[in-house]
């Protein structure tokens, strides 16, 4: 599969990572070493710091202290952050899908490989909806759209996928389909999830609790 995708999976190293919201610590001294190609499920209760940790890897959440390396590289300058955000595909937690109209086709094309993303969208049941506004999609359709976008990003060369509860709005069949797509991608995967199907499809499970990380399996 790697040959087909022309993708090089990237390693992830988190060392002593702290994140705060004002004075309140959200992530506390997290260490995590994910070798290239490994699939890791990040579980934990709401508010345990899962989303904050994922967002810190992409620079959307400031890291108060510690080291974050993707593929052995840190990101400091704007150019390095731009590089990281093309190397790391991202499925955000489902939200109110932006404040301005964006067409599904535009979302898929933003992945870097619109053809692959549109093919994935068709496989995920979104065929013919490309001219629909993202804000008009159901929660489940929106999550499938973001999953299809992630496939496009991987096809464009991303070597890692961070996914924040990517199956939360899907039905049981959809959860299994999404889990299959997520874990078949030839990339390093770090997925925050409450979904047993997704967690079981991963190579490793780690748990966040009150901002700290511990191994589960």
């Amino acid at each position: 599969m790697n040959d087909l995708w022309h993708v090089t999976a990237l390693s992830l190293l988190l060392k002593g990572v702290h994140c705060r919201y004002g004075r309140h610590p959200a992530v506390h001294s997290v260490d995590l070493d994910v070798p290239a190609g490994l699939r890791v499920a990040l579980i934990g209760t709401n508010g345990s710091g899962k989303s904050t940790l994922l967002r810190a890897v992409l620079g959307f959440q400031p890291v108060a202290d510690g080291v974050v390396e993707v593929g052995g590289e840190r990101a400091v300058s704007a150019a390095q952050w731009r590089k990281r955000r093309t190397e790391v595909a991202w499925i955000p937690q489902l939200r109110s899908t932006g404040r301005f109209p964006l067409l599904l086709g535009e979302l898929l094309d933003s992945s870097g490989d619109g053809v692959a993303a549109r093919e994935a969208a068709a496989r995920l049941g979104l065929e013919g909806l490309e001219s629909r506004g993202v804000h008009t999609l159901s929660g489940g359709q929106a999550q499938r759209a973001w999953l299809a976008r992630a496939v496009g990003a991987v096809a464009a060369g991303a070597g890692m996928l961070l996914a924040d509860e990517p199956t939360a709005a899907l039905d049981f069949v959809g959860q299994e389909e999404a889990a299959a797509v997520l874990t078949e991608l030839p990339v390093t995967l770090l997925v925050a999830t409450h979904d047993r199907a997704v967690a079981e499809a991963c190579d490793k499970v780690v748990e966040m609790a009150a901002g700290r990380l511990r191994d589960v399996a």
Partner: protein, 267 residues
């Protein structure tokens, strides 16, 4: 009677200025809606007032000062766009400081403040060639910017993080947009005045939001509505023998209200 009025040079300039404004300003309204920075118009108008005060103090062109200061203010606001507090607080601070300094400048200079405050009302029939030149540049540059960067703009206005993940340089682009917004509002001062600027910026954009599909559709629809407002409003004002500004606003407002009756487009 209408033909006689249209033969007058000030009326011709006003009409031409409105046409140029109808092309340049509604896309700016789309940006304001997309960035959710509705108070920016007031903040920038206060900065423009400060520019006008400095112009009166120094005996130079108030419009030039307004354009320069507004451009600087737009650029200065950009770093706040990425903060959790957003732009609202910064715009409020800018508005207060600008009007305070403007009043101080007027007081120190001893000039008649009425000249500066004329900005608030606009004076469409006193549109000068230099005002038309500024509007002409904006009427070309703004639609061109939208066409050139339409992908990046669509993503940024939808979701800053999505844009960042799609290779968009969100920081510089946001700064450029804020400068464009600020300069456009300053450039429209003579035409619309501070109080009536919404007729050609926000109201067409709000109406277009119900009609257009995606960013390109919204921009095209907003320009179309702007042209209807500009031509229809000026003609109506001439027929009714009323000041054009309020008539333009009322017409734009009616169109925006009617657009709200339309269902949001799903496809």
């Amino acid at each position: 009677m209408i033909a006689e009025l249209l033969a007058l040079v000030p009326v011709q300039r006003a009409g031409f200025g409105l046409l140029l404004g109808a092309i340049a300003l509604p896309p700016v309204g789309v940006l304001i809606v997309g960035l959710d920075i509705y108070p920016v118009r007031f903040a920038i108008m206060h900065v423009a007032l400060l520019g006008s005060a400095i112009g009166l103090l120094t005996g130079t062109d108030p419009l030039l000062w307004a354009l320069v200061l507004c451009a600087l203010a737009g650029g200065g606001l950009a770093p706040f766009a990425t903060t959790s507090a957003g732009l609202s607080g910064a715009m409020g601070l800018l508005m207060s400081l600008a009007i305070a300094v403007a009043l101080l400048v007027l007081s120190i200079s001893g000039v008649n403040a009425n000249g500066a405050f004329e900005l608030l009302w606009g004076s469409i029939l006193s549109t000068r060639p230099v005002d038309l030149a500024v509007l002409g540049v904006l009427a070309v540059a703004i639609p061109a910017l939208f066409w050139w960067r339409r992908r990046d703009l669509s993503l940024l206005l939808h979701d800053r993080e999505l844009a960042a993940c799609s290779g968009v340089r969100t920081g510089p682009l946001t700064m450029a947009l804020l400068v464009v917004i600020a300069v456009s509002i300053a450039g429209a001062i003579k035409l619309t005045g501070a109080l009536l600027v919404d007729a050609l910026t926000l109201l067409p954009a709000l109406a277009a939001r119900r009609i257009g599909r995606g960013l390109t559709g919204m921009v095209v629809a907003s320009i179309g509505i702007g042209l209807v407002v500009a031509v229809g409003g000026l003609m109506l004002a001439l027929v009714l023998d009323q000041p054009p500004g309020p008539v333009l606003v009322l017409l734009a407002g009616v169109i925006a209200l009617l657009a709200q009756l339309l269902p949001m487009r799903r496809t």
